[in-house]
């Protein structure tokens, strides 16, 4: 393993992400208006806020974050990148359209279950999950304190998350930051009644092995009419594995090899793969013909 290269990438991501987050609540300059366009009919303020942390809108960008940074690498890279005020990373149009469908369906599911949500639109900050997952704990805690102050200043009382990385990051922050803001994932609130299809489920590591949500998600899906194919060697709690996305920032090659191997195992069980995380979707998509998110198969 070329640890010289991975260390270099780690330092690069650390310096840039941290600096950008403290300055703008975003890990990189991005077109926030485009990213919040899906939520035209959702109010801008309220006690309960739907918190996307841009994971569905920018999944492909977060997936290839290190590669994106490399494009700007060079002398005084961090400050150059941070000062590129005129540069906006444009989200992929198709990805935004898909994110819009997914997020609007989640909002509808929440409304149907009696949860009225607001959305912070272009003001929405990023969670800092990347800092946590890279082990940048001091930076994560510092940014996290700032993040919870941001929500407190806007009278947010409850955050409804839509992805595992943000959910886990906020729970971990609450171990450190004293805050009475409640954090809940949408899958713990919704009760979809219509679902279709037969899938092999690729569990999110964070949902299943960190947040103990795996069996609840299966019950929700089966209750809605979605059929899941299980295999002891592929889908059990101790045999299912990561898609490789979290290590992308350190080693693109390792991430892709893990994704390819995981996709081969999943499709040996069923051609149609179901995921619960936008990064899993991004990482497995190149190796799977048919892949859907939970919020695309239930309503």
């Amino acid at each position: 393993m070329d640890y010289g290269k991975t260390q270099k990438q780690l330092y690069m991501v650390r310096d840039v992400v941290y600096k950008n987050l403290l300055e703008s609540y975003m890990p990189l300059p991005v077109d926030r208006v485009a990213c919040s366009g899906w939520a035209k009919n959702i109010p801008r303020s309220g006690p309960t806020v739907l918190y996307t942390s841009y994971m569905y809108q920018l999944g492909s960008v977060f997936k290839s974050y290190a590669k994106l940074l490399e494009r700007f690498s060079g002398v005084k890279f961090a400050s150059r990148f941070a000062s590129l005020g005129g540069l906006f990373v444009k989200p992929n149009k198709e990805e935004l359209e898909r994110a819009s469908r997914v997020l609007n369906n989640i909002a509808r599911l929440l409304t149907a279950s009696g949860t009225q949500v607001a959305y912070l639109h272009e003001e929405e900050p990023y969670s800092g999950a990347l800092l946590l997952e890279l082990g940048l704990m001091d930076e994560f805690h510092e940014y996290g304190a700032k993040l919870f102050d941001f929500f407190k200043d806007r009278d947010v009382r409850r955050l409804v998350t839509v992805d595992p990385h943000t959910t886990n990051a906020l729970f971990r922050l609450k171990e450190y930051v004293k805050s009475d803001i409640e954090v809940v994932n949408y899958l713990a609130l919704v009760k979809p009644s219509n679902g279709t299809g037969r899938f092999v489920m690729h569990d999110s590591c964070l949902y299943s092995r960190y947040l103990s949500m795996g069996s609840g998600i299966r019950k929700t899906l089966e209750g809605a009419g979605v059929s899941l194919v299980e295999d002891r060697m592929v889908t059990a709690l101790d045999t299912s594995t990561c898609c490789g996305a979290p290590v992308e920032s350190m080693s693109e090659d390792l991430s892709e090899r893990i994704a390819k191997a995981r996709a081969a195992k999943l499709t040996s069980v069923c051609e149609d793969v179901l995921v619960a995380c936008p990064l899993c979707y991004q990482n497995l998509s190149p190796y799977v013909t048919s892949i859907r998110d939970i919020a695309e198969v239930v309503s």
Partner: protein, 379 residues
């Protein structure tokens, strides 16, 4: 994952996982044993000085010689002095021995040195590194083993030989070494502080030979292997064997001092038939410092069953390229930080989380690795 590594790994997973499921289902008491073991090991980690002293006193009482080695060079010196200047030295796959470079230091001192665990013997012949803590030759397919033995040991075997013929070929070679060996060096699955007993689990019978036939037995292990009582040492043997995938183990060896007899008028005489000397070398090499780090100390609970390797996609992909040998997989990413002050392997953890699900002593490995990642980011 590709080629022969993928073949070897997939065959191993297909054999190991269903067998483990059956063991844990057939012997449900193992779960409670593992919980008790965690408590016992935690109590030692909290008072390492106290239990190390107790262990040394118990070893002396049983007629053995205790040694403390603070690092690699001290351990090499201690073992080198016991082994003397020549003769055959046998190893029984001690990972701590590999960590300390004992084989190389004894070879350099002029000894003839052989690994007697089959997997480790193959690794020695191939001049390779172990790819798994319990199954060091996991990356070698049967065909590769046949080719290796044909080239290095016995022309009568080949890649097409049966599994049985390959094993017999090694057995025949090693038998000649057992009877001629001067020193047998083992590790320890557990060391009982109250009796000074070393407990070792195995299936091949090589440890039994290494600990009984040569006139000197040296057990080299980390202070993390100390447990409070003889009873706890048995717990560790059972839990380790089960989670390594073979239960009951064919052999559990107990050594409490050199061989002895009291058959003549109840007078204890040392030695009897077995070794005339028993040495226990307890090694620090970063462990004491780790025991004082609240975010790292749980790594010392590891019983080296190797289950976490089989639940980790990074290990599946990188194999032994992930961490420096002998410690690989998720546990190796923790242990490289402890014994080699190498924090980089942890940076590749994808927090897949299977490691903590399968760990019998419930080490939250991803949380420990998160701490190691944090240390790494500050370097």
């Amino acid at each position: 994952m590709s080629g022969e590594w993928a073949t070897a790994l997939n065959r191993t997973l297909e054999n190991n996982i269903p067998r483990l499921d059956k063991i844990l289902s057939d012997y449900p008491y193992l779960e409670e044993h593992a919980e008790r073991l965690r408590r016992a090991k935690s109590s030692v980690i909290a008072r390492l000085d106290y239990y190390t002293k107790m262990t040394c006193e118990a070893v002396e009482k049983s007629g053995g010689v205790p040694h403390l080695a603070k690092d690699r060079s001290e351990a090499q010196r201690v073992v080198g002095e016991i082994c003397g200047s020549d003769g055959i030295v046998l190893f029984s796959k001690t990972n701590v021995g590999l960590e300390l470079g004992l084989r190389e230091s004894l070879l350099a001192a002029g000894h003839e040195v052989w690994e007697t665990d089959l997997g480790e013997f193959l690794i020695q012949l191939a001049e390779d590194h172990p790819s798994h803590i319990v199954q060091p030759a996991l990356h070698l397919t049967k065909e590769m083993v046949g080719r290796l033995l044909h080239d290095k040991l016995d022309r009568s075997v080949s890649p097409d030989s049966s599994y049985e013929d390959l094993v017999f070929c090694v057995r025949s070679f090693l038998f000649k070494k057992y009877v001629a060996a001067k020193v047998g060096i083992t590790g320890a699955n557990a060391v009982a502080a109250d009796t000074g007993s070393v407990v070792l689990v195995e299936n091949e019978g090589n440890i039994r030979m290494d600990t009984v036939v040569p006139s000197i037995h040296i057990a080299v292990t980390g202070v993390d292997k100390i447990v409070p009582t003889f009873d706890d040492a048995f717990l560790e043997a059972q839990v380790q064997a089960a989670h390594a995938g073979l239960y009951p183990p064919t052999y559990i060896n107990i050594t409490s001092g050199p061989s002895s007899t009291a058959d003549i008028e109840s007078k204890k005489v040392i030695p009897a038939t077995g070794p005339k000397e028993f040495h226990l070398v307890l090694v620090d090499n970063g462990r004491i410092r780790a025991s004082q780090d609240s975010d790292l100390k749980d790594a010392l609970l590891c019983i080296r069953c190797g289950r976490c390797y089989f639940a980790c996609p990074v290990y599946w992909t990188l194999g032994s390229d992930w961490s420096p040998p002998p410690y690989g997989g998720p546990m190796g990413a923790m242990w490289s930080a402890i014994v080699a002050d190498d924090t980089k392997p942890a940076s590749l953890c994808t927090h897949s989380g299977g490691c903590k699900v399968v760990c019998p002593v419930k080490i939250d490995i991803p949380r420990v690795l998160e701490h190691v990642k944090s240390l790494n980011s500050k370097r």
